[in-house]
């Protein structure tokens, strides 16, 4: 999908394939500007002025080809969304119960009283104490965590088949985050809804998702099961993300030396050098190549496709490195380095020959 901007067309998302089997939780992870939210919004026709190509099939129908009124019937009822900031997603002038009831009445022919009763039930389901009273409160009377519960209640009001949660806990404190993730997980299992959870937080993904997509510069660079991503990453960007996490330093087998305890011998993080690219000037070839420690000549020329690493294709990576170079640690990195050097040398020789 492309946005026209004064600086030329901005390709926010390129060639993203995403399939969510019903009843599963898929995590989409990436840093700011990687296109993860835009992908979700464009799928639902929630972005104006964007040129979108491709297909978004939901229960066999293409969302991108639907008319506005058809799409409106799907959104909210069959596909629901929970956003990062519940305060700006709720209308400040209306009571929360009214807002939930309104949503129900927009899709189903029920009376006001029935809709209100449903709203009370929903508030109770998401764990809001005294739902009969709270249903008549305004959004500002709720705390951040409670507001996010209201959003979840609203999203689940019509038993959607797919729930898209875009950074649902980013604005919340950790203890509240745990409450919300726990709630999402229980409701997901109970209602058997498929969930796409979009976040920058690799911790949240590890807690929630069965299947993980890693996005960089508008593309999916790696996709695998949760364990595949965290234990056997292939793409150097995924490896870099995991290496940047302080929490990984505390995993078993990696003794932790706090900073300053022993000068000169401190536990250092391995950040990814440089900055993510501007989407107006995405690098040629692989978009990650300017920051990649294992860059080869081919990476600068040809964009890698998302190709399967294993027989059943459950682990895919868009990287030119050999498919068996998965995992973390100095041993694999050494082999990555060797492969990268070979990749550089080969081209050097062929150029000399030519």
């Amino acid at each position: 999908m492309t946005f026209p901007t004064p600086d030329g067309p901005l390709e926010a998302v390129r060639g993203v394939d995403l399939d969510v089997p019903s009843g599963t939780v898929v995590g989409v992870v990436g840093e700011s500007g990687s296109g993860k939210s835009v992908t979700m919004l464009s799928m639902l026709g929630l972005i104006q002025g964007a040129q979108v190509s491709g297909q978004a099939l939901f229960e066999g129908r293409d969302l991108l080809g639907m008319s506005a009124s058809e799409l409106r019937k799907v959104r909210g009822a069959r596909i629901a969304m929970v956003f990062q900031d519940p305060l700006s997603s709720l209308h400040p002038h209306y009571r929360v119960g009214w807002q939930i009831a309104e949503m129900i009445r927009a899709h189903e022919p029920v009376s006001r009283a029935q809709a209100r009763r449903r709203a009370v039930e929903l508030l109770a389901m998401v764990g809001i104490p005294q739902p009969e009273q709270r249903v008549d409160d305004y959004p500002h009377q709720f705390s951040g965590g409670m507001r996010q519960r209201v959003m979840i209640a609203m999203a689940l009001a019509l038993h959607p088949r797919l729930l898209i949660a875009d950074e649902p806990t980013t604005a919340l404190d950790v203890t509240v985050q745990l409450q919300i993730l726990d709630l999402l997980r229980r409701l997901q299992a109970e209602l058997d809804t498929a969930v796409i959870i979009v976040t920058h937080d690799l911790g949240v993904i590890a807690e929630m998702a069965q299947e993980v997509l890693v996005m960089y510069a508008g593309q999916v660079v790696e996709r695998a099961s949760r364990r595949g991503i965290y234990r056997h990453p292939h793409h150097p960007y995924t490896r870099g993300l995991l290496g940047s996490l302080p929490a990984r330093a505390e995993l078993p087998g990696r003794p932790h030396a706090p900073l300053g305890a022993e000068r000169g011998r401190r536990d250092r993080l391995t950040p990814i050098p440089g900055q993510p690219p501007s989407l107006l000037h995405v690098p040629s070839g692989c978009p990650f190549h300017p920051r990649c420690p294992f860059v080869m000549d081919v990476c600068r020329r040809k964009p890698p496709e998302l190709r399967p690493l294993d027989a059943d294709g459950s682990h895919r990576s868009a990287c030119w490195l050999p498919v068996d170079l998965v995992g973390l640690g100095p041993e694999v990195d050494g082999r990555r380095q060797a492969a990268a050097e070979a990749g550089r040398a080969r081209l050097g020789r062929s150029q000399e020959a030519g």
């Binding site: 939780v25 840093e31 700011s32 951040g144 965590g145 409670m146 404190d173 950790v174 203890t175 509240v176 985050q177 745990l178 409450q179 993730l181 726990d182 997980r185 299992a189 920058h200 937080d201 690799l202 911790g203 949240v204 993904i205 590890a206 807690e207 069965q210 099961s225 949760r226 364990r227 965290y230 234990r231 870099g240 993300l241 995991l242 290496g243 940047s244 996490l245 302080p246 929490a247 990984r248 330093a249 505390e250 995993l251 932790h256 706090p258 900073l259 300053g260 305890a261 000068r263 000169g264 401190r266 536990d267 250092r268 993080l269 391995t270 950040p271 990814i272 900055q275 993510p276 459950s314």
Partner: protein, 367 residues
Amino acid sequence: MRSSPPPAGDDQTLLRLEEVVKHFPIRRGVVLRREVGRVRAVDGVSLEVRRGETLGLVGETGCGKSTLARCMARLHELTSGRVVFDGRDISRLPQRQLRRLRTDLQMIFQDPYNSLNPRRRVGSIIGDPLAIHGLADGAERRRRVQELMAQVGLNPEHYNRFPAEFSGGQRQRIGIARALALRPRLVVCDEPVSALDVSIQAQILNLLADLQGQLGLTYVFIAHDLSVVRHVSTRIAVMYLGKIVEVAETEDLFTRPRHPYTCALLSAIPIPDPDLADRRARLLLTGDVPSPVNPPTGCRFHPRCPKARERCRREEPRLEPRAGDQEGHATACHYPVEPDEDLAQAARVREGTVGEVKDAGGTHGDR
């Protein structure tokens, strides 16, 4: 004015807080501005920062950690209590002397977008402290600024650029360069990496570590991200509703937390590792943090605490060493958590959900 001689053993302590209180009055009315209540942001905090260490300060939104940081740097006037920096009481220093204090004590702020003046060039932003303190002029100032820029990993040739031309991570580097311009001894970092993406966050954390080694800095490091705090800190203090509830050496706190709130906080950190995430028992707190305008009686954590008893409602626990703990470990709890205690179970009993399967982890299998 000379302050009283420091007590023995104080030479290890760079900064000492004594019963620091900071209340913000809530006023009503136009003419009389009657005080109708107070936000008890910091309500009696005593704490030491030792030379060369990194003291982590953690807590959730509204617990008063940023206010406490500002009290340390005297950006807030204290309501009561004392702040002693290097043996000198700085809590009542007049403006002129306060300015001199700034050469020793600097702050780095969370938001690299709002803490830099967008209309001024980076060189002059970083050079400001040198100009204000009359330490360097003209070509000499420029040389010092460019040195600083190189030291924090910025291109010194970008001296004449505006903040808008830099990314978030680079702006945080500008903030760090500015804080270091005067060669301070203590740097109070208030959520310095919270606004940054993880890959950039790691760059800044490494930079802060390098600078500490090179310049012998002491840090007070505030963050809500516990894994970040664990990575950088030698000691950690946990705050809840304006009070320190527990303080200990980093590994001691993480392996043997005693306050139920600390336990809840630690168990809530999302672990970026599928196996650990599944295996872990979770302590799910109920309810929200109460308002600091009207904090609960007794122990402030009692309404959410799985172990709360009658005594906790009446009597405020003191922050003191508890039996069986390492030196330097203090906990403000009447009934500290024992190492093999199952708090999650206690929480379930309290919630009346015993027997019901309430699985907070491991409900999903891997493919």
